[in-house]
């Protein structure tokens, strides 16, 4: 169920401003791909175009192609809502629904979409998703309590459980650990390692150690200056990017000379 994403000549605009310029790359299934780069280089924007979440921002639009196992996300007749059911997303700050219990949060994708499903199947799905997010043991006795009562790290894993309960092919993670403490971060990183057996995982991170720890492939984005669009500078196996990158900028960034 893990799928390959091929991006060709992708440009992202906010109104007349070009935020991301000419990105072409392939994201492999059953692997973790990390996007790194300085702030404002367009990596989060680019990530959002992979499930058309950028369309939530007024004035944002895309030129180019994103193929999910050969099918263009931006093809005619493609419904962004359906795209998002196949490409899940986890955000920077944990955002469980405050009005829902832990269990309802996990099943939010099913319930919110008015999907009918027998109760026993729902229970099983919730348990599977929570197990998949390594959260089951911690919350199995309080499934009916509000999700906002959990710690930040638990909330984030709850959000991951919520995303994988939708049975997506791809999981996008936008700096999922930036609001978490080191212990919770470690838990999420371990989880990513397990999840990549089943999903295509793309993660945006500011933390280069994290990219080095969890990812198989790393893509480095950069901007030439303020107001210039973000560009993909280099993409390759993580080992190579962190040891012998081809481009000087990448090396400078990795070694901490800027950014």
């Amino acid at each position: 169920m893990s799928k390959r994403i091929e991006i060709t000549d992708l440009n992202v605009y906010y109104g007349s401003f070009r935020a991301v310029e000419d990105v072409s790359m392939t994201i492999e299934p059953k692997a973790v791909t990390a996007f790194i780069g300085p702030s404002g280089c367009g990596k989060s924007t680019f990530l959002r175009t992979l499930n058309r979440m950028h369309e939530v921002i007024p004035g944002a639009r895309v030129e180019g192609e994103v193929l999910l196992d050969g099918e263009n996300l931006y093809g005619p007749g493609v419904d962004p809502v359906r795209v998002r059911r196949h490409v899940g997303m986890v955000f920077q700050r944990p955002n469980p629904f405050p009005t829902m219990s832990i269990k309802e949060n996990v099943l939010a994708g099913i319930n919110l979409n008015n999907k009918r499903m027998p109760g026993s199947e729902k229970d099983e799905l919730a348990e599977q998703a929570l197990r998949g997010a390594n959260l089951w043991e911690e919350v199995k006795n309080r499934l009916d309590l509000p999700g906002s009562g959990l710690s930040g790290g638990q909330q984030q894993r709850l959000c991951i459980a919520r995303a994988i309960a939708m049975q997506p092919e791809v999981l996008l993670m936008d700096e999922p650990c930036s609001a978490l403490d080191p212990i919770s971060t470690l838990a999420i990183e371990d989880l990513m390692n397990e999840l990549k057996d089943r999903y295509t995982i793309v993660i945006v991170t500011h933390n280069m150690q994290q990219a080095a720890r969890v990812s198989d492939t790393t893509a480095f984005f950069n901007i030439a200056g303020t107001g210039a669009p973000g560009r993909l500078i280099e993409v390759g196996p993580t080992d190579k990017i962190f040891s012998t990158p081809d481009v000087k900028d990448t090396e400078d960034y990795i070694s901490g000379r800027f950014g």
Binding site: M1, L68, E71, L73, G75, P76, G77, V78, D79, V81, R82, V83, H86, N113, N114, E121, E124, L125, Q128, A129, R131, G132, I164, A165, Q167, E169, R198
Partner: protein, 326 residues
């Protein structure tokens, strides 16, 4: 995790992204959006309808032959309505003269003088004034306030009658335009207070602290750092209070024994009536062209308050635009 449910039901056919099959849920979006937009447009339509219906129903009085109006109505429209326009403006202005200084005082008390812990409860107390229905104020004004102010009015009349306002034969019942204005002032007080309080609280703290650090007393600080910043807000609050005072019906109609004369004496029993009160008092018994004339008077009132409110809102929005506060 031998056979996860997660992986059972995901065998969708090729082309799963394109919405080829009918998905009933997807019709929800345009429909719901349509309802929301429609509700918004409906509000604009209602406002337009208010003006249109008043115009339709008031028109007969505006175009009718004066002779017919004299015979069946209150007489020629503009001559009939003019004293009431005066009364409406006069009562509202008197009310504001009383209410504005007090409202600014209260707002300052809550924002800058009262202990911080007390500020919010005190705000609630003033808001309670706004919650009292106008008919209750009318009852109180007519049965409690009016008799209570007679001695004061007599004294004012005896000692200050060289001021035109206080001249004339003092009313024995206390039901004068000044009493009505006091009741109106009580009713617009909370509106002006709450808006002023808001702008006073938004005054930049840094400026206030800078003024205090220069050795200003608290009052000097308020004059220096709060008032200049808050001036547009205060003006807007006054305008909104004015709009409310112009349109208030019951308090005036229950307190004032008004008639159709134009005078600035505030203590006598000859008082100009207000448009709203004339409508409330005359409408239940009116028929034919009288009804049309009353509705036309309502249209005049609508236009006046609309103008006042639009100016007020315009000032508010202009202030919001350059202060960057929302």
């Amino acid at each position: 995790m031998t056979k996860p449910v997660l992986e059972t039901s995901t065998t969708e056919p090729e082309g799963m992204l394109a919405s080829d099959g009918p998905d009933p849920k997807r019709h929800g979006d345009p429909v719901f959006r349509g309802f929301a937009t429609g509700a918004g447009i409906l509000i604009l339509a209602i406002l337009a309808a208010v003006a249109a219906f008043l115009l339709f129903q008031g028109a007969p009085a505006l175009i009718a032959d004066p002779a017919a109006l004299t015979e069946q109505g209150y007489g020629p429209f503009w001559a009939w309505v003019l004293p009431f326009i005066f009364g409406t403006l006069w009562a509202a202005i008197l009310a504001l003269v009383i209410a504005v200084p007090i409202a600014i005082g209260i707002a300052l008390f809550i924002s800058h003088y009262a202990p911080r812990r007390l500020a919010q409860p005190l705000g609630y107390v003033i808001d309670l004034l706004a919650a009292v229905p106008s008919v209750v104020f009318g009852l109180w004004g007519g049965l409690v306030l009016a008799p209570a102010v007679v001695p004061l009015y007599t004294w004012l009349n005896q000692n200050l009658s060289w001021i035109p306002l206080f001249s004339g034969q003092v009313s024995g019942t206390g039901r004068t335009i000044l009493t009505a204005a006091i009741v109106l002032a009580t009713m617009v007080l909370p509106i002006i207070t709450s808006l002023c309080r808001e702008v006073f609280l938004q005054a930049p703290r840094l400026h206030e602290e800078a003024a205090l650090a220069l050795g200003a007393t608290q009052w000097e600080m308020i004059k220096l750092a709060v008032f200049p910043y808050a001036r547009p807000g205060i003006i807007a609050a006054i305008m909104l209070g004015l709009g409310r005072a112009l349109g208030e019906t019951m308090a005036v109609s229950m307190v004032l024994s008004g008639s159709a004369n134009i005078t600035i004496q505030v203590l006598t029993s000859n008082n100009p009536n207000t448009i709203a009160a004339v409508i409330a008092q005359g409408f239940p018994e009116a028929f034919g062209l009288k009804t049309n004339e009353l509705i036309a008077a309502g249209l005049v009132l609508f236009v006046i308050t609309l103008a006042v409110n639009m100016v007020a809102r315009w000032i508010v929005s202009r202030r919001a635009a350059y202060s960057g506060a929302n």
